[in-house]
């Protein structure tokens, strides 16, 4: 069985794994916010370091094949929609690259960060906000993130089981409806089992957890991202075509 599944955490000694989850989240958010208004050139400039990080992380892209097909279809749809709306090929390619950058960011974050670690880092920050139970919010985010790979697992199980029973494609709409119902039902069962497993081991979402330290890798990542984005923002007034007009 291929064990490399998209959006699953892999424990390894890579650069991103050494960074604090909060640093990674902030950096990725900063990149993605910039990406929202970026032109083709800036999109490529922002995508390059993400690809480089993907290489240092040794993302097993080939083994993600099946799951990536879904995102490939989405990318094509986005490209077609954008082209239909603007009639510009460059705009269409930019939209596709932007979507790929978002997916790659998600893959980098999930591959290098255990949901539990993200909750530890987020919880300690959110808990400082008055009237907010930061740890509960962080636990909710953690559980939500844990559900994403679960959805992929369940989808894989359901489609394999149906394929094994020679399901044809004679009624695609009916098939989609039935597959969706099976996935949803199995997902509910898994969620119930997860709830029991957490409860059985005394999980308390509002309990403060041990926070994770910041390392030199965090400083390096923040510095590179900050300087990189600052360069783009300083370059903005000089080369207006780098960004779309706001």
């Amino acid at each position: 069985m291929a064990e490399a599944l998209i959006f699953h955490y892999r424990q390894q000694k890579a650069f991103l794994n050494r960074c604090n989850p909060l640093t990674k989240l902030v950096c990725i958010l900063a990149i993605l916010i910039t990406l929202a208004k970026a032109s083709f050139a800036v999109t490529v400039l922002l995508l390059l370091p993400l690809v480089l990080l993907g290489a240092t992380q040794r993302l097993p892209i080939r083994r993600y094949g099946k799951e990536l097909r879904f995102f490939f279809v989405m990318t094509v749809l986005i490209g077609i929609t954008e082209y239909a709306a603007t009639g510009l090929l460059l705009s269409c390619i930019t939209a596709c690259l932007r979507f790929l950058a978002i997916i790659l960011s998600g893959m980098l974050l999930s591959d290098s960060t255990a949901p539990d670690d993200l909750a530890r880092s987020l919880g300690s920050v959110l808990d400082r906000i008055p009237f907010i139970d930061g740890w509960s919010v962080a636990s909710s985010i953690e559980l939500t993130l844990s559900m994403i790979p679960l959805i992929f697992d369940v989808t894989e199980e359901v489609t394999t089981a149906r394929k094994a029973r020679m399901e044809g494609n004679r009624h695609p709409i009916r098939n989609i409806r039935s597959v969706a119902a099976s996935i949803f039902s199995l997902l509910l069962d898994r969620s119930e089992e997860l709830t029991w497993a957490l409860e059985a081991r005394c999980f308390d979402p509002s309990r403060p957890r041990r926070t994770l330290p910041y390392t030199k890798s965090d400083l390096f990542l923040v510095t590179v991202v900050a300087f990189g984005l600052a360069f783009l923002f300083i370059a903005l007034p000089r080369v207006p075509s780098l960004f779309y007009p706001l």
Partner: protein
């Protein structure tokens, strides 16, 4: 140690799944609960653990009535689920074992001490940094036992620990169980595969259609197995009813 008196449960009114369950489990004993599929064995374990609320009757643990105190039962009783995979919540073997300890709020030094102990006991040292998905069936089972055992429960309950395991894995789990029994742990084991474990049990409870039909030492209840849908090889001496051959 554990006394259930007239315990009842049902998801719907007038449709009891368990009714008038009364049984006693002695401290340090090894109790085997058996019965055909659908007899309510797994539901009974979830009631004892505190994952479900009984609709009637009382649960007494070490002399104290804990019927309405599910949190107390969650801490004091360890339940190893039938499907080991559903119980594993950590991203690596080490993280999964530590999960329960963090929930108990133990200091780091004690967490490490307990982790080392249970890893040695269950021979999981080489798998510590592995992802649980990549473990074999027997290793997953040992991990699920480790995750529960590390919380030092006063009572250890195991639901079908031999399910889906090959011969070497069953032997491994059996060895672990007998080692725990030798260390004085109180164990309740649910299984319909009695030929794998009967020789080691101190007490046997037969459950059928949601009711306790018999409780006593293996020799005294053996004749009732066939009547209640539990297979035991005929003409095999009691001491040979184990898969742990010398």
């Amino acid at each position: 140690m554990l006394i259930l008196q007239n315990l009842s449960f049902g998801f719907e009114k007038n449709k009891p799944i368990l009714s008038d369950i009364s049984l006693t489990v002695e401290r340090g004993s090894f109790t085997l609960i058996t019965g055909p599929n659908g007899s309510g064995k797994s539901i009974l374990l979830k009631l004892i653990k505190g994952l479900l609320k009984p609709t009637g009757g009382t649960i007494t643990l070490e002399g104290a009535d804990v019927t309405g105190q599910s949190k107390k039962r969650l801490r004091a009783i360890g339940l190893v689920f039938q499907d080991a995979e559903t119980q594993i919540v950590g991203q690596t073997v080490e993280r999964d074992i530590l999960f329960g300890l963090e929930n108990l709020g133990l200091p780091l030094s004690e967490q490490q001490e307990r982790l080392d102990g249970v890893v040695q006991l269950l021979d999981l040292k080489e798998q510590l940094s592995q992802r649980p998905r990549t473990l074999s069936g027997g290793e997953k089972r040992r991990l699920s036992i480790a995750g529960v055992l590390v919380m030092k429960p006063r009572l250890l309950i195991m639901d079908e620990p031999f399910a889906n395991l090959d011969y070497p894995s069953v032997v491994q789990v059996l060895k672990t169980l007998l080692q725990l029994k030798g260390e004085g742990h109180t164990i309740i084991l649910v299984s319909h595969e009695v030929e794998k474990i009967l020789a080691s049990a101190d007490d046997v409870i037969i459950l059928s259609r949601g009711k306790v039909v018999s409780q006593g030492p293996p020799a005294s209840v053996r004749s009732l197995f066939a009547e209640h849908g539990v297979y035991v090889p005929p003409d095999t001496p009691l001491e040979e009813l184990t898969w742990l051959k010398p």
